[in-house]
Symmetry: C2
Subunit: 148 residues, 2 copies
Amino acid sequence: MQPATTTDDDAAIAAGFEHFYETLRRLTPRGPLSLTAASTLRRLERSGPHRLCELYAPEGISQPAMTQLVTRLEKEGLAERTSDPNDGRAVVVSITEAGRAAVAHRRQVRAEALSELLRGLAPEEHAAVVAALPALERLSDLAAEQAS
Amino acid sequence: MQPATTTDDDAAIAAGFEHFYETLRRLTPRGPLSLTAASTLRRLERSGPHRLCELYAPEGISQPAMTQLVTRLEKEGLAERTSDPNDGRAVVVSITEAGRAAVAHRRQVRAEALSELLRGLAPEEHAAVVAALPALERLSDLAAEQAS
DNA sequence: CCTTTTTATATCACCCTCTTATGAACGGAA
DNA sequence: TTCCGTTCATAAGAGGGTGATATAAAAAGG
């Protein structure tokens, strides 16, 4: 019967992800960027400039926290504030070249550490991971649309 | 130089994991337990009591941070300190019943949120995720043994 | 128009968790 | 015993989060 097997699978998936999440977390030990800072920079890199009020909710932090984060990022030259000519209240945040470089560096460090691990996998395990990528991507999309 | 396909695959895997990691991070928004607290409790649950000096390195924090974390956990009744009769310096940390309950609850909340997402996957995507679980588990093991 | 309300950021005061530096107590070997 | 290494605790400070609140601009209402 369908429901039972699905539930069992889901429990196994949850357990696996729980463990795997910790592994990923330790793969990027400590950098100058906090988790939220890195995530926000990636968002700005990926989908362009955003108003501050569009940023804090998706990142799961409060508005004051985002104001402070943008202030820090600006101070470090990784992002910049611009004003919207059509709305005097708004602050438009965009990533700088240094910000892109920081994201790229962080990405590369993680990719290299991961690559090191991937070398330890058997070919069929490696293939299984590659085969699961589209599904993981869709999970991310589903989570994103659920949040809205 | 490695074979080109492996490098390309690894880049794709790194990119996919980067995105997926953020998804998992937001799946357990905020609880009374910090990431490190939850991870430490899971470790105590999984592999039994540990001396404090065996705990902080695997969790990626400093020794004072672990001392403070154990103090907080003890204050909340989730873990307890015991002294080792063979070594007066040592502190043995173990999880309490309340600690197990907290871990279980957190696990269940995450599992339910994940289950909700998994319902949105096509059957073959779901199967691909299940098929990749052993590989992900091995990746975690590889990372753990690399740390030692 | 002028007032009122709503929206978008910023600031304030505070808490939690991490850090480094340091101290104290115990164990083991000369 | 004495000395040194190990183990844990404490102290002081930094970073990043929160809720409450202030300010300024836009929108809404009479």
